[in-house]
């Protein structure tokens, strides 16, 4: 964002066709959208594809959501829905494979992403492992909260769940994370 320009002003300028403003928005939000999708699907290429597709959708209708709160919820909702649709599509087209193949693929993925398996600190590795042990719905709340920085109310809106449910999931997820990380520490 340009110095002194609020997000709302930037959105309005982008809606009027200002390329520099649109670049500011892309630079500000691309890492967060990518991070969220990448954390949920574990696939860098798919995350990039969905990120691009999300911004292509956003730019066409940006004038309707040029308010900060609405824009962010809208952006992350589109990204989340797009990932969900893609995962459903892939599940429909999935061909059963041997479990050994899946293990091999998981290993290859970990090698390709040293942030999780290799160069990160042990704490980060323990946290990644603990996150992987959460249920999908609990993990999704954690991801949405930390990658998007949205309020719980906005997250509830994205997930189509009551606010109380989202808060309960967050609480349960944090508790389990603490417990899982504690288990890892005990093992060492």
């Amino acid at each position: 964002m340009r110095a002194g320009a609020s997000l709302e002003e930037t959105l309005q300028r982008a809606a009027a066709g200002d390329e520099a403003a649109w670049r500011d928005i892309v630079e500000a939000y691309t890492p967060r959208v990518f991070g969220l999708i990448r954390a949920q699907c574990g696939n860098v290429d798919l995350a990039e594809e969905i990120t691009q597709s999300t911004f292509c959708t956003i730019v066409e209708r940006i004038g309707r959501y040029a308010e900060v709160g609405r824009f962010e919820s809208w952006l992350f909702r589109i990204a989340t829905n797009r990932l969900r649709d893609e995962m459903r599509r892939r599940r429909r087209q999935a061909i059963p494979v041997e479990s050994e193949t899946l293990v091999g693929l998981a290993g290859a993925d970990a090698d390709a992403e040293p942030d999780i398996a290799g160069s990160g600190s042990q704490d980060a590795a323990a946290l990644s492992a603990a996150l992987a042990r959460l249920s999908e719905s609990d993990r999704q709340v954690i991801h949405l909260r930390h990658f998007t920085g949205l309020s719980f109310a906005a997250i509830a809106g994205i997930l189509g769940e009551p606010l109380g449910t989202v808060l309960a999931r967050q609480h349960r997820a944090l508790k389990k994370l603490r417990q899982h990380i504690g288990d890892c520490d005990d093992d060492e």
Partner: protein, 170 residues
């Protein structure tokens, strides 16, 4: 009120961009023992790598779709959209619309399969013409009296057809 605000705002200014400044704090009932795990999560999020040049690629893919940059389509290839009423406002436009609807109706009637419970009068008439030439299908022998329709009124014909249908149903 706790001061625990979830993801670390300063942390999010790293590779993952800016954080919305007015993000709500966690509700009071979230106990403070989660602060440590929250800090770890914020740190973990901060370390997630972003592919080099990703923002540039996203920008390049999307900038052409900015509202002011969208090029109007060439009038040569621009077809009026049905949903756009303005395209149908002129007299010629209305006539064209009426012709389109009529054509669609005729096509729909032609391609609709016949109702199996409706006697196919056209077929009977054809068979009648065939009968005049001695080409009646023996399967229609039982309904031979229907072939005399040239002496019948419309009421007679429908009564006879109704009888045939009743016989078939029995």
């Amino acid at each position: 009120m706790t001061t625990n605000r979830g993801p670390d705002a300063t942390a999010m200014n790293g590779p993952l961009g800016r954080l919305t400044p007015d993000m709500d704090p966690y509700p009071d009932q979230i106990p403070p023992e989660f602060r440590e795990i929250e800090a770890q999560l914020a740190s973990w999020v901060r370390r997630q790598p972003v592919p080099p040049g990703l923002a540039d690629r996203v920008f390049d893919a999307s900038v052409g779709l900015l509202p002011a940059r969208r090029r109007p389509r060439s009038p040569l290839f621009q077809m009026p959209r049905l949903a756009s009423l303005s395209a149908w406002r002129g007299v010629g436009g209305r006539l064209a619309l009426a012709a389109s609807i009529t054509l669609a109706f005729v096509v729909a009637v032609r391609i609709m399969p016949p109702n199996p419970f409706t006697p196919n009068v056209e077929m009977v008439l054809l068979e009648y013409e065939g009968g005049q030439r001695g080409l009646v299908d023996p399967r229609f022998a039982k309904a031979e009296h229907i072939l005399m329709i040239h002496d019948m009124t419309f009421g007679d014909l429908t009564n006879d057809l109704a009888r045939v249908v009743a016989d078939l149903e029995m």
